[in-house]
């Protein structure tokens, strides 16, 4: 569009309801702070805006040893922290170790599992990770215990962001409130419960972001945020458009200027506790898969998603176009129930988060299950309680993942296996709420991840696709329901491709978005 030319500068207003948790890259791990942390700090490698393609960042260049076990990075000399100090290899080593260090109480530890010595660091028996070496200020060398195709993706995670040791030690636990990084923006002001003000980092080592800065207003009720957005008081409503307002906006004349609606690496599903009678019977699990009327559920959320038939979202490499999953088939489901000897059904509980639209979806599921004789009592609770229930082997039988649906940390199918379908996640407090742990699949998974060479990429994806397809068709530990599209509401003056508002890995690319002339 003609007017859609990037204008350097300008500051914008972004709103969220919840208070900002923390901006500490070793800890921050939610929707809200992910993109801000991303813009405050920099990492060895990064993604090209709006894509999943790895590009150099702190690292100018890198080499991978033939066996795929040693990664060596050359750092960009221009990189500086916002406190003026140069970024050195030691900083990066320190930062990653910090992420793994249990004292940090961060969620990141697991991601770096393939680095030699991560385990010792994680259980507190070592104070450094032997697999990370900084021979000189501008060279960094990682040694892996086994080849890992996703290692570069891991290094592109916020958890691998570089932080200045001296500041971290000075601030201690408050670093998350007074972050200092080497990213595109820096934090100017943080008024708890009210706003955070970010401004452009003038001596950013990569090309400057378009915006001079952005202001994040928190405690903003989504409905009100949309109202303000319509009045032009707000540029991005971070919590998206609440269901109550969606249709109104969508059908309004200037919808196309206001709404960014894009697919993401997301699947919303029902976990079926494979250890709980009678759900341990695969036929029952298949019956459940057939019973759920996904089209209607999608309609309930105003078509803001596409029905899902498998674990992986369509965007994800390894998505099996051939596999159609279980079609909606009440009769078939009933038959399976018969075979399982449950002609007159059984009663169970369905956990779900208590924020709209999840209770509604849960009720839709409840009705569908009732149709095949499964009486599901709904427990609509706050997120932590649902997570606790799911992470407790003998509590949650069925759990609707909506609102907490699995969103990939990086664009690789393996990310959909480990924590949520692998044995590693099937622990008290873990996220494998189906408690699905099958040795044969474990082995296939580790094998697949070992194929780290670039040329093996496509083959590897094929293997993963097979794994997920088999899991569903043989074991059906999940009933995938839909792949939710992310919807962001932005003011008319905001420019930039949809991709930078709904970035597959960063959520919002504060570096890339801009205001129109």
């Amino acid at each position: 569009r003609a007017d859609d030319r990037s204008s350097q500068g300008g500051t914008i207003v972004v709103t969220y309801q919840d208070d900002m948790a923390t901006l500490d890259p070793a800890i921050g791990y939610d929707w809200q702070n992910w993109s801000m942390i991303n813009s405050l700090f920099s990492r060895l490698v990064d993604y090209k805006f709006g894509t999943t393609e790895i590009v150099p960042s702190l690292a100018d260049s890198w080499t991978i040893s033939p066996d795929g076990l040693v990664y060596t990075f050359k750092l960009n000399p221009k990189a500086k922290f916002t406190n003026g100090r140069k970024v050195t290899a030691a900083d990066i080593k320190y930062s990653i170790e910090r992420s793994v260090n249990p004292k940090t109480q961060g969620p990141a530890g697991g991601f770096f599992h393939s680095i030699v010595g991560q385990d010792k660091m994680a259980d507190g028996s070592a104070t450094t990770i032997s697999g990370i070496e900084a021979p000189d200020d501008s060279t960094l060398k990682f040694t892996l215990s086994q080849p890992d195709a996703t290692f570069l993706n891991v290094l592109a995670l916020n958890f691998a962001s570089v932080v200045p040791k001296e500041v971290v030690e000075a601030e201690g636990a408050d670093f998350g409130k007074k972050p200092v990084g080497s990213g595109a923006f820096k934090l100017e002001e943080w008024v708890p419960g009210q706003r955070l003000v970010f401004s452009r980092n003038v001596d950013y080592f990569r090309d400057r972001p378009n915006l001079d800065g952005f202001k994040v207003e928190i405690g903003q009720e989504p409905l009100v945020a949309i109202l303000r957005l319509q009045k032009g008081e707000v540029d991005i409503a971070g919590d998206g458009i609440p269901p109550a307002k969606y249709l109104e906006i969508k059908n309004s004349p200037d919808a196309k200027d206001l709404i960014v609606d894009r697919e993401q690496f997301e699947t919303s599903y029902i976990t079926i506790n494979t250890t709980k009678k009678p759900l341990d019977d695969v036929r029952v699990r298949k019956a459940i898969n057939m019973a759920v009327n996904k089209d209607r559920i999608v309609r309930i959320i105003n078509g803001r998603a596409t029905p899902a038939n498998q674990v992986l979202p369509p965007l994800m490499p390894g998505y099996d176009k051939a596999y159609k999953g279980y079609a909606f088939d009440v009769e078939g489901a009933k038959k399976l129930m018969d075979e399982a000897g449950l002609k007159d059904g059984f009663s169970t509980t369905l956990y779900a988060m208590n924020t709209d639209p999840n209770p509604r979806i849960a009720q839709a599921i409840q009705q569908d299950l009732a149709a095949i004789g499964i009486k599901a009592e709904i427990k609509a609770l706050a997120q932590p309680e649902v997570i606790a229930a799911g992470g407790n082997k003998d509590q949650a039988a069925l759990t609707w993942s909506g609102g907490m649906g699995w969103i990939a940390d990086f664009p690789d199918p393996s990310d959909f296996y480990g924590p949520i379908l692998g044995c590693g996640g099937a622990i008290a407090g873990g996220w494998n709420w189906s408690w699905f742990c099958d040795k044969s699949f474990e082995d296939r998974a580790t094998k697949a991840d070992a194929m780290s060479k670039p040329e093996q990429k496509d083959e590897r994806y094929k293997i993963w696709a097979q794994i997920f397809t088999d899991i569903q068709s043989q074991q059906a530990p999940w009933a995938p329901v839909f792949n939710e599209r992310r919807v962001v509401a932005k003011s008319k003056r905001m420019g930039g491709s949809d991709a930078v508002y709904i970035d597959p890995t960063r959520v919002i690319d504060y570096e890339a978005i801009y205001t129109k002339k």
Binding site: D356, P359, I378, A380
Partner: protein, 283 residues
């Protein structure tokens, strides 16, 4: 009794109120027969193609909710829950409040004092928390929510009643009763409690609506009635943010709650005048 009826008959407003209450109670009892649909049924045509709830129309008289369920049917069934909450829970709350208030006010000294401190504690205590924990520990049910509400709402009443009682015990006729050798129980229940009835009624009726709404908050937190069981409170609560897109989902139940509460209030006032012999033959 006859007097009662004639009294009420003299005030048209009260008559309307009585009829309305009767209607609500009837609706609650006869819901299965009156409701055109099952309250939980989510017919496919209950939502527009875009998934929007349907406004009142020929098929769904009061429209449908955000799951495409018939609002009328849900309101009819919801009456059951909400009556229990608004009457039983609220009633129990007032009862507890009265008992504690009266006792605290009557037995001055250590016991009374202790009771008031306990009231203070309850007043300072975050009720929602209790609710959440109960929600998770117990199997949520209508009776839990009733319990919680009772536990939450008695405090104010106790406070008010307490001060009133303190005034009453100074009165001469209480002394007269004691000089006749009346026991404490007799004085408390035959000679003090009746005089507190007016305030009890006022607070009771004022409480109807508030408790019905409070129930919704609690269901949201997971205590008490869980979906799909309807209650007037959670019908509003579920869709309160839709009040622009689907006003009928908020304002129809809202109006019903209000009307019911108002009726109870009117009847309560009438009742108060009836039960007060000193009102007899006065203007």
């Amino acid at each position: 009794m006859k007097r009662a009826l004639s009294e009420i008959a003299r005030q048209p407003a009260t008559c309307v109120a009585v009829l309305l209450i009767a209607a609500v109670v009837l609706a609650a009892i006869a819901a299965p027969w009156l409701a055109p649909f099952s309250p939980d049924a989510q017919p496919f045509d209950g939502l527009s193609l875009e998934g929007a709830p349907l406004p009142p129309g020929p098929k769904y008289w009061l429209g449908t909710d955000t799951l495409g369920r018939d609002l009328l049917s849900r309101l009819l069934y919801g009456a059951r829950t909400s009556l229990v909450i608004g009457l039983v829970a609220n009633g129990v709350a007032v009862l507890i409040g009265m008992t504690l208030g009266v006792v605290a006010g009557y037995v001055s000294g250590v016991v009374g004092n202790a009771l008031m401190r306990f009231t203070d504690l309850m007043m300072a205590f975050p009720a929602l928390l209790l609710a959440i924990v109960l929600a998770a520990l117990l199997r949520p049910s209508l009776w839990i929510v009733a319990l919680v509400i009772a536990l939450v709402n008695w405090v104010q009443v106790a406070r008010i009643i307490y001060t009133e009682t303190r005034g009453l015990v100074e009165r001469d006729y209480i002394l007269a009763e004691r000089s006749l050798g009346a026991g404490h129980m007799r004085i408390l229940f035959r000679h003090i409690a009746p005089h507190l009835l007016p305030s009890a009624i006022v607070w009771g009726t004022l409480g109807v609506a508030t408790t019905v709404l409070l129930e919704a908050t609690l269901s949201f937190l997971g205590v008490g009635v869980q979906p799909p069981q309807p209650s007037w409170g959670n019908i509003i609560y579920e869709s309160q943010s839709y009040f622009q897109a689907a006003p009928w989902l908020v304002f129809i139940p809202g109006a019903i709650i209000l009307a019911t509460a108002l009726s109870f209030n009117l009847v309560g006032d009438a009742l108060r005048d009836l039960l007060d012999p000193t009102q007899r033959g006065r203007g």
